[in-house]
Amino acid sequence: MSNYRVSGRGRVDTARPISFTFDGKTYRGAKGDTVASALLANGVHLMGRSFKYHRPRGAVAAGSEEPNALIGTRRGPGRFEPNTRATVQEIWEGLETTSQNKFPSLKFDVGAVNDAAYMLFSAGFYYKTFMWPRSFWDKVYEPFIRAAAGLGVSPKEEDPDHYASRYLHCDVLVVGAGPTGLAAARAAAVGGLKVVLVDENAEAGGTLLSEPQARIDGRPAWDWLTAELAALKELGVKIMTRTTAIGYYHQNMIGMVEKLTDHLPALPADTPRERMWRVRARQVVLAQGALEKPLVFHGNDRPGVMLAGSAQTFLNRYGVLVGKKPVVITSHDSAWYAAFDLQDAGAKVQAIVDIRGTVSEALLSGARSRGITVKLSHTATGTSGRLRVSSLRVNPVTNGAVGAGEEISCDAVLMSGGWTPSLHLFSHTKGSLAWDDDRTTFLPKDTPEDCVIAGASRGLWGIAAVLADGAEKGRAVAEALGQTPAPAAAQAVEGDRTGSGVSMTELPTDRSPGKAKAFVDYQNDVTAKDLRLAVREGMRSIEHVKRYTTNGMATDQGKMSNINGLNIAADALGKKQPQVGLTTFRPPYTPTTFGAFAGYHRGGHFEVTRKTQIDSWAEEHGAVFEPVSQWRRAWYFPKPGEDMDTAVRRECVATRKSVGIFDASTLGKIEVVGPDAVEFMNRMYTNPWTKLAPGRCRYGLLLGDDGYIRDDGVIGRLSEDKFHVTTTTGGAARVLNMMEDYLQTEWPDLNVWLTSTTEQWSTIALNGPDAAKLLAPFVEGVELTEDAFPHMSCVECTVAGLPARLFRVSFTGEIGFEINVRAHEGRKLWETLWEAGQQYGITAYGTETMHVLRAEKGYIIVGQDTDGTVTPYDCGMGWAVGKKKPDFVGMRGLARPDLVAKGRKQFVGLLTEDKSRLEEGAQIVFDPKQAIPMKMVGHVTSSYLSDTVGQPIALAVIEGGHERMGETVYIPMPDRIIAAKITDPVFVDPENTRLKI
């Protein structure tokens, strides 16, 4: 009784049985089965519980549009996936699957109480019920809604699979490998054009797989298909199955996801689970076909009620009868053929019930010859059966009046409300649609992309028609690519099942429509009644109706529900469908894993981690690292037992006492060369450069054209025509881009060129009273004396035998040098200096100590002490702005009224009265006794412990701060209010005596 497999039917290999489990019970299927087809072969229709009402549900479709049969799949630890469509997942030996949204079991679910209380859960229910009190939302309502509704459970373990991505360029991409796509690919594969044909299914063929009765060019459809695929391969067409075109992006970029391992019993090594293909096609042929529409009537969601075309697919492709006593309810000819196929395969079709009053004689005689009862002008008004449909209630309709009901006993209901062309990808292109009144559907019109749409996806019906259309469109795109394809002869098709139908809203009923559970969106449990209620409550646009009812908002994105929903809403509004509108199709076409989007970018490969040539030394010496833009930099070097504060205090003290060594290689470096180099520098930076002599350096300040500080750095003039510019670590790429932008668009007349040399050099900074003593013995070409090489000098020389660019600069207030050697020689020089520095107790320090030492001197860090709204004057660096220059980037911006107004936030130092360390980002007020919300007048930008100063120090921006030296301000914290005195930001050695050798 439980075997629904039909021998001699289908493409599955029953000689290769496969066992898998569903909710812990083992079932047998055949090679080629999906979970759904295998369960149906075992007589199992109940596969899940619905989202809101927890109603029992079974597969309603046979493909990726399936809204109901969503299951969890598992393949060992970490490999659990919720919400997989049972109609897509292929079975393999040992596959574990589970139903969802049920407790304690699929057959008895306490959540189904929602179904009895369905009157409460009407459209807009959440908005109406969970409004008051506001405070209940976070703690009561939202958790309740989240717990009550929902589908599968999110996986909690890390995904052990790997995901891949590739780019692919082709001349013609054909989406959909049904007869249309096959014909298009064949026609386009001329003159060496590179053609790619993709299909989401496990095998190519589309509708041909479900229509073995057809004969094309005298051959049975499946034989023709085999030969055709071989011919396409011969022509060099790349055929990709299990590959879904998920989105159509600008300029013919199509995203496709290929599933590589979900169907395999064992995971092959080095093979990703999924691969994202980013395809750039010169021409695209869309041949996605059409999707069948359900009919909307009371009880149309009971397990066993399914689309007639899908029943035909289960029979012809998988060799499975979805029922032995099916009944058909339809408004389209296609369902008649499904009935004939099932009857011919041994089922006893109870009746074909058609809404229409007349159908073709061919169909009637087909039914008659098979002894199938036909009921025309009938409607369906209900189903019965608890976990599986057991009867369909049908009533005659005469002149719009619904007559007495009659129960037809059955074990499956096959329904068809007609077919909807798949316009998803076409719509992604911003393609316009035209309403077709005859077919009651939208058809494709114009698209801005190099794209054509063919076959059933533009409303054609029948194999002969779509083969001809596919071939024509294939030739058209080949011609657009400069080829002259030969005209192909039309292919003769026998057994073609052409036909038509009418489109319905809800089926007429003799019962109260207000109590009907006639589902439009199965996945989100939206009924026709909900849609009409939404219209009664004032929703006029389909976009509002959609959001109010959630129709079409589930993971199937309304593949089945959108058109029925629109027809019902339009009917309720008394308007034509185009006036009500169609909701937007958005990618992805089917649910797509995060893994496919992430591709290779996970774990260690998530993002580039740039390391300097000296990074390895830091790692070997126990450095703790911090990320600075893409770089990882040594943060501090703790000795055993030291915490961060202790290590940083030791590094600071040692550097000020003797000498510290620091890896400054990440600083951006730009070589500016050419006869107009100095003019370029004058225009780019605020400072004047003309009088800077070769061999000298200057601190440069870079503004945006708004007058705010963007970057800074020390710049050395190596010769008349050559500058060595340094930038901040994070600003390197941005600054070079900004400079190139000005050079190429504003000043193309300047004879100057920019080259990034950030990575040409390893840069080692030596700072401290012993820095010159340590370095001098290694330097050839210059004497490290106050006279020969004063502060802010630069020279090309030799250091430890290595060609070097030596700068005398200081970001610490101590005697300082920055030695640039060719990148790969950096570590060698570092080790040489480290060894020689032992006699001075040399200390390696990281970015934190660098921050403290510069803060003690009041040097800003762009991006920490500035936030894009700080001018040089705000920072007390008016001295860096060339007053006599005719122009520079930001000069006009600096003259804006707001930038010269009084009361701007200005850069100052802060010393707390209680000697506590302030929190960076803390807000500052003048009067701590004012009412809340207090007026915030600035914030703390930097804050550190400082042994040199003898108490913690902070930097801040405060309104009118420069005029408020010595005043007390307040920093309110959660537990107390801290008082602090405004000071000059230079805490250490304001006379710069320590810079002297």
Partner: protein, 184 residues
């Protein structure tokens, strides 16, 4: 020699039936920028600079790849760099230009094998087929700027900045295995 995590040593990094990736020995690299009549520079270099973006020229061991209307990347033996710099400096008066030694900035991978071009599609959005043998391009690979030199139908060089090298090499290694595992 200490093995440094932050710098790659030359030699084969990954190999499979599909492709082979190796890190090349250091070489001299110069970034050249100039406009106008280039004959003075060409005389100094002993090489006619290609004018078409993507075009290449070679003279002896000196190779030039045109990257932009006024931009070339030159590759030469390390020992030849100082001579080239000096020779070009000699014509700076006649033709002002920028010649910057970037030998220390980059490392090159050699990518070869029957599916070398396909390996590049893992990270390069441009159509590899449009880079003719004997040409080159500056492009992006896995989000980072690289220069590709196509030396043969199945042989490429990829110049990358030092600090991006291990990240990019990791993807190439994964790809070398992934391609080999594919049934064709």
């Amino acid at each position: 020699m200490t093995a440094h995590t932050s710098s790659l040593s030359s030699g084969v990094a990954a190999v499979s039936s599909a492709a082979r990736v190796s890190v090349e020995a250091p070489c001299g690299r110069l970034s050249l920028r100039a406009r106008g009549d280039l004959s003075a520079l060409e005389g100094a270099l002993g090489l006619a600079l290609p004018r078409k973006v993507g075009g290449r020229a070679a003279a002896g061991e000196l190779q030039a790849l045109c990257l932009g209307p006024d931009e070339w990347m030159l590759h030469a033996p390390l020992a030849a760099v100082s001579g080239l710099v000096e020779a070009c400096a000699g014509v700076y008066g006649a033709l002002p230009h920028s010649l910057v030694d970037v030998s220390g900035r980059e490392v090159s991978f050699q990518i070869s094998g029957p599916r070398a071009a396909e390996l590049l599609t893992l990270g390069c959005a441009r159509d590899i087929d449009t880079i003719a043998v004997g040409e080159g391009r500056r492009t992006l690979f896995d989000g980072s700027t690289v220069i590709l030199w196509r030396d043969a139908a199945d042989s490429f060089r990829m110049d990358v900045w030092n600090s991006f090298a291990s990240h990019l090499l990791h993807l190439l290694e994964v790809g070398v295995r992934e391609l080999a595992a594919e049934a064709l």
